[in-house]
Symmetry: none
DNA sequence: TAATAAGCGAGACGGTACGTCGGGTCTTCAC
DNA sequence: GTGAAGACCCGACGTACCGTCTCGCTTATTA
């Protein structure tokens, strides 16, 4: 018999929820992820601490959701990669854009914060894959499948592996700051990947 | 003219230094990186807190050095990859070993802790590359160079890129827990890499 | 316009307040004023340090209030000196009692602690005079006024000065440990005082 | 069998001793007795902490000696009260001077510090009486004895008690800040005392 | 005249307490 | 009857000093 009084989602204040996520997002940008505190979020959002604890299990969860919301806003809803018929050109376009995004300081802080959460909390990692990475990967794989049908990619290529080879080096270079995120590097990754998986 | 009174390294107690690093290492394994506190390290090491603050700028730096010391002890000094003449076999051996290490819970906690530090602190990232990753990468590149001379790898291949393609996907899968670290996955990465960079 | 967020007295926990004062009082008796620490008081009272810092500005203030509370409890409320009509006898009774109290080790430690606070902090000195010394002095002066009306004391005597002459030597002898606090000394002070202020 | 290696006074550095006492005295005036630390004294005096601990048992002892030295310097050596033949005038002169000294902020801090030490440490209290208060009291009693011989004071008066009555009220008023230290108050105390002890 | 031992400056060390920040829980009051 | 406000207990922070303990380096006898 559980005594845990669960809050009633129907009564939840949308106003508070939004203010909290917005405050979290703003604070990450201002003081850095490590120094964001629940108290500061509550104060900034004009909200009692309890209201945060009622609806989120941890600071990480709030931060995670605030950034997730941001990303989902940006996308709008549907995600699709360009398809001009020229796989190499399309991929280079996307990879260069990805590299530029990672290099943009305005994106760096929140994405880094999000990554920290994922790394430390398997539960959040699962949510991340389900809600953010999954759909994006599906979009990418759709483009790759079209390429396979067009004979530009080995028909038996494991598309997850293709994505791994394509994105992981860029991601790691960003995360570890082990080198510059140049358009040339983006291009090189596309070249390598296409060479490895050509029909 | 700096007023900062810097401690005199000549007077530093080797006994304390060692006890602190050892305590840090032990605590990471026991309670997880996030819950390690300077107080706990000091208490465990039988040391005053000031002795930690005197020699390290942050908890991260202590943790970083404790794990670095651990890794360097393990290596002994010289690092060299096996060279049987069969590049594919040699790489698969190494990659399978790497995958197994990442999968080992005893290694997971400290390496994850180390990674968090690197991600958050560019200064530590630089130290990491210089003192740990650099030498290892050099050893790997030495093996790859031998393969180039033997005509098993494209002579003009950028060896840093080869390493990126080889290791990054494994590293990312481990960090994000986005899939199992199986020997098969290790093998697949070797296959992909060799295909991409064959002569 | 002050930004200092002042705590709300209405929400104050009477339970904590009482536990803190009691713990302070006990510790003074056990380890001596100088060695009492806020940490020890908090631990003994089962209270967070912040709860002490929220309501008192300094260790001195806590100690002061704890002893003040003790004294006020002891008094009950109304204070009155004996009045048998024989001024000399009445004063000797009171002075001997005072001397005995100062000589009692159980009273010595806290009163000495209180005195230290008063000496060092003019603010506390003012509080002391208002809340403790003032009422007592009034009671004493009431007895002296009765004596004046009975013609046992000069009608124009400055009663504050009378009290000074009567009590100060005893107080100083106690504080400086410059001599024993005997009944004879108490009597001698009464004799001197009456001689100086006889009609 | 004591292992305690006692320092050899013959080898003591007069230079250090003087610098320490001077630093202590200066710091009391600057930051107040409570905030003076051994570390600060050592730093100010350009002396190692050990040199202080070698020669003094406690902070109190250093402070005590520093002020004692100050007072003894001021006196020069011989102390004697004025003797014009008019006891009342002589005493009023002295008492007014004493009141003025207590009221002078430059004297207040060190004397208050000295008093704190005496109050808290019976050992220092004894030293104080022997080295400072004793000689002064003797000088005062010498003047009073002359007055007795001149028939201006009761021949059987207890001179220690006379001094108590004369000085204690002033001292207490200063210590407790319970009233202003005016010349009028000084005069009143002389009047009262002479009335109480007239022949 | 050397050696030897003490005092000395400096400051690292194991500790205790400081006063502050923030975590997560609980209660009170206004809307 | 939610939610703001914020007091509460608690744990950790980074700092200041405590008193002890080496270090080299003068000095100043003693062999």
């Amino acid at each position: 018999m559980s005594d845990a009084r669960k809050p009633d989602p129907a009564r939840r204040s949308e106003r508070s929820r939004h203010a909290i996520l917005e405050a979290a997002r703003a604070l990450i940008g201002e003081v850095g992820y490590g120094k964001v505190s629940i108290e500061a979020i509550a104060a900034r959002a004009g909200v009692g601490k309890q209201t945060i604890y009622r609806w989120w299990p941890s600071k990480g969860a709030v931060v995670f959701e605030s950034i997730l919301a941001l990303s989902q806003d940006a996308e709008g809803g549907e995600v699709a990669l360009p398809d001009t018929g020229d796989l190499e050109a399309d991929l280079k376009l996307v990879m260069r854009a990805t590299a530029a995004e990672f290099a943009d300081p305005a994106f760096d802080a929140p994405i880094r914060a999000l990554t920290m959460e994922i790394v430390n909390d398997p539960g959040l990692a699962a949510q991340y894959h389900e809600r953010l990475a999954g759909p994006l990967d599906e979009a990418k794989k759709a483009r790759l499948r079209a390429a396979q049908e067009a004979g530009q990619l080995a028909a038996d290529a494991d598309l997850d592996l293709v994505l791994d080879v394509l994105y992981s080096p860029l991601h790691r270079r960003w995360l570890h700051r082990s080198g510059p995120l140049t358009p040339e590097y983006a291009d090189a990754l596309v070249d390598v990947t296409l060479r490895a998986f050509r029909p």
